[in-house]
Symmetry: C2
Subunit: 372 residues, 2 copies
């Protein structure tokens, strides 16, 4: 069933998208401001994947770049629609809808800017089911829809169309090069597909899930209930049903650098109790990739590793990590379609240069989050 | 009048194009091999600019990259035509002819590969009147035809279309970024224009001039006449009528590095006679930019600074410079359309970060070449 989204929903959506960003994905609050400015008091129509006509033409839109640059270089706001129009002109076909390629972080918002500007509906699905750092890390690609041709727009009206055939990694490599030369941020339209393709290749209902998560955290907080219980309850009826508390403690070390268009680094979280010297180490490339508790693996990509405020449950991004923060780290299971051998080849541990094998977060003997 | 060019002409054309490359432009002998392979015993039609219909649609083709990479990464040969076809598809218009953007170095040959593959004629003109390192350094741009949209093709069939409106420097910046990510070499189609545009913005008859120069050097050598006299005589009836000998001597120092997609450096040439401690210093960015004799400027970009073998007149590129070579360095005047204030803003000394002002080579008190 289709539903509508208004400016009043955006703060909750931003909160939920930050959680699904697993530390990365870019700051959705900047995207939220851009949507608010264009949307005013109108509403955006959101289409359920099950309702799409088979031949509906869907053109996803997104931002690419390092989150550390995005928070300093705010886009004009017209770039995502320019990217969509450029791809339409290249393909000689007009979009019927747009869609996120990524439901975590700012890319939950970019298609809403396009929808607000053009009046197009947005499809409630995405191609990452979270946030990932590279354009080739898409369930779309895993299940046979390729990213090319990709259209890229810059803040001075520059447009670039890249076509690398079936080679989505080469597409990412070239688009990243252009984005770096545009100053670190570019806006894109890519993975154009039909409604039938969406049902076959996209992770369904992740936009509504992000909104529900953000709302549940806020409402629990307002009612003085546990936000972590609310997160677990909200996810229990979705494809992300397993939630684990990986660690609680204090941030005692953060190492972060922006290199090759990415924010890379690691964070250490130490137990709070006197005499407890256990630690959680998290490594990230834009997004959190792996969590090791006292050297033992407790969660690994593509499962979600989410750092949140220990009390309020507010999600914290890698660029927001600070020494001394009290945090609770959650591990969340991803849908089965993101854990197949093909999917793990595209965005599993090895795709990030990790030597550890994928282990489902729910297979570790940890207490479900919210149960304490 | 139109004329035809066959494989037998290519060695002379390569020699002349190397001279006009002023040290850079990439090695035309590699281009020559690629043309020979495709052309066989057929002929290419070359159109004189004066004969073009006003609305003839001309799509120039070229290679971009650092010459130091080009000699190690030989193209498949199909990329330039793919670039042309990509630009045609983007513009929705079919090319009637191709043309060099640069008459010096390998870019004298790239349009001939396209002509041999497609049967299109080649226009006897170009947009640099020599070789320059950047795509924005074009008489086309100086006189109002801009480079965008540019199509770029890679050796694995990748295509990229870049549109930066009137901003040719931003086009160069983005295309260079893509070229670096393609491994250092890309093939392009850009500066699409009409026959009327060619007459207004291109340097005329530079392909035939390169061929005539290469032939004159060879014939003089075969007849045991001075190749330098032959060069001066050939150029006397062209727009490049002033030729000066800047220095003769031995290469005593070469400093060269490939950085940011360019070959940059300097060479020192020392007098041969015992007791003569005079020196010529040449600085280059792909092409030779400035020649200083004992610290005094004797020739500067856009005038041509050509290093040749002291006896045979064979031109030597910056990547071919070796300690101990005996060389004769020529300065050659450029056409008036390349010396206007607008032209000097695009490719005069300041465009290369030089602080020296442009001084016409013929205004220096040096003996005409070939007069000794």
């Amino acid at each position: 069933m289709s539903w509508t989204l208004t400016a009043a929903d955006l703060p909750d959506l931003a909160r939920g998208a930050t959680l699904l960003g697993t530390g990365g994905g870019g700051d959705p609050y900047i995207g939220q401001m851009l949507v608010e400015r264009v949307l005013g008091d109108r509403a955006i129509t959101v289409l359920d994947p099950d309702d799409l006509a088979d031949d509906l033409f869907v053109v996803p839109t997104a931002q690419m770049g390092a989150p550390t640059v995005m928070i300093e270089k705010i886009p004009a706001g017209t770039e995502p629609t320019l990217a969509l129009r450029t791809l339409e002109a290249h393909l000689g076909r007009t979009a019927d809808a747009t869609m996120p390629i990524e439901c975590g972080g700012i890319n939950s918002m970019i298609p809403l800017i396009v929808a607000a500007e053009t009046g197009l509906p947005v499809v409630d699905a995405d191609g990452m089911g979270r946030a990932f750092p590279e354009l080739s890390m898409e369930t779309f690609a895993v299940y046979g829809v390729h990213g090319s041709p990709l259209a890229l727009a810059g803040e001075r009206g520059e447009t670039v169309v890249i076509d690398t055939g079936d080679d989505d990694r080469q597409m990412e490599w070239l688009a990243r090069g252009v984005t770096i030369r545009l100053g670190g941020v570019g806006h894109i339209a890519e993975y154009a597909m039909t409604g039938a393709d969406v049902r076959r290749t996209a992770v369904p209902r992740t936009l509504s899930m992000a909104l529900a998560l953000g709302r549940a955290i806020r409402e629990a907080r307002e009612a003085h209930r546990s936000p972590f219980e609310a997160i677990a309850q909200t996810l229990s009826t979705t494809l992300y049903s397993e939630v684990r508390e990986l660690f609680s403690g204090k941030v005692t070390d953060v190492e972060r650098r922006t290199t090759e268009g990415f924010a890379k680094g690691r964070a250490t979280i130490s137990a709070l109790a006197a005499g407890d010297d256990s630690q959680l180490e998290i490594r990230f490339q834009n997004e959190n990739l792996i969590a090791l508790r006292d050297g033992a693996l407790v969660a690994i990509v593509p499962d979600l590793i989410c750092v949140t405020d220990i009390e309020s449950g507010e999600p914290i991004t890698t660029e927001g990590l600070r020494y001394g923060q009290r945090v609770r780290v959650l591990g969340i299971s991803t849908p089965e379609m993101m854990r197949t051998p093909e999917a793990l080849a595209a965005f599993g541990p090895r795709a990030f240069g990790l030597t550890e094998e994928f282990v489902p977060v729910e297979s570790r003997s940890l207490a479900p989050a919210g149960s304490a």
